[in-house]
Symmetry: C2
Subunit: 210 residues, 2 copies
């Protein structure tokens, strides 16, 4: 056993810092192993506390999940909404710019496994599915929908079906992130996401422009 040095307490009271430490640890493990497969004991250990402490700050595993998501993705979405509302760029430029920025964000954020996580668990956790649909999916779609609408009105784009085109825009990006998180560990080759994104935008814009 380690005789704990008397000057260093076994733990400290850190009421303010705990919640975000816990949500960050939780998000990391949820993304790494999935929601159902993640044990709260492991989350606690990674956050430097014990499981009991988790329940001081979050009433359930579900709530912990929701808190982690809120803390991580909502700022980015708000920023995107802001950019689209304020920017004076053409729809084409805005689309390019936003998608590329999105990919840049995805590549650097620890949250790039979120799509896969949610898709994988939605079926078994209705509460989480609804939460994600309302707070993330629909809002992101609206952002792209607005850009397309603007582009069509300005005759930059043909009068395409907007719902479908949104899917055309986001599908390759999202599926690739899902893919990376599902099979990444089993493939040696690296994939140049940025180059793929430029390629995707070229094809897509060529396909919808007037």
């Amino acid at each position: 056993m380690n005789a704990d040095s008397p000057t260093q307490p076994r733990w400290q009271r850190r009421k303010d810092a705990r919640p975000s430490e816990i949500t960050q640890a939780a998000l990391q493990l949820f993304i790494q192993r999935g929601f159902a497969a993640t044990k709260l004991d492991d989350v606690a250990k990674l956050a430097g506390v014990t499981k009991g402490t988790l329940y001081l700050y979050f009433p359930s595993k579900n709530d912990l999940f929701k808190a982690a998501i809120r803390e991580t993705v909502l700022p980015s979405i708000q920023m995107a909404e802001q950019v689209v509302a304020d920017s004076a760029l053409s729809a084409t430029e805005l689309l390019r710019c936003l998608v590329e920025e999105w990919v840049r964000l995805i590549e650097e954020s620890p949250a790039n496994g979120l799509s896969k996580l949610v898709v994988a668990e939605a079926g078994n956790f209705p509460e989480l599915a609804h939460f994600y649909l309302d707070e993330v999916v629909y809002r992101v779609r609206r952002v792209f929908g607005d850009i397309l609408q603007r582009g069509i009105e300005a005759s930059e784009f043909r009068p395409v079906n907007i719902e479908f085109t949104i899917k055309e825009i986001i599908s390759p990006i999202i599926l690739q992130t899902i893919w990376n998180h599902a099979f990444g560990p089993y493939r040696t080759e690296r994939f140049d996401m940025r180059e793929f994104t430029r390629f995707h935008l070229d094809i897509l814009i060529r396909g919808i422009q007037s």
Copy 2:
């Protein structure tokens, strides 16, 4: 309680029929609830036996899974390979034809939840991930790669990056099937997959043609 009629035995010996009844039941539940979340007791009940019987035919849950996949998807892939090898259509027509046939198959098959299932569980079950990559993913990609190659050589398509274009082709379709299985139960609106597919092919072909 029901006093079982003496003429009907409580169960019968059906050594030959059991395996496929069990794999079908397993596949259905795996797709419905995921691999980890599916209880073998439920598989057994759906197959009309008890859990012990499962272990007479399959040594483990993993083996049961692999057997179910093999039995279900390999035939379709072989058929697609055959079509591409034999057809005399132009690359454009072949692409359209194959994708639309693929979607038709997806819509009617009970196995249309397979992408989501595999993506969801791959991270926690390496054995299953490797199996699916080798036997399904790479083979499907090769089919589309061949079509693109042919189209480029015939100057129907620009000399696009083939790896990227394969992803362009399949991403919206696959992501939509994943989506349907992840969030389908929580959305009332129905989604016209066929119409979306036609739309997707229009945009895509417009984007890659010479």
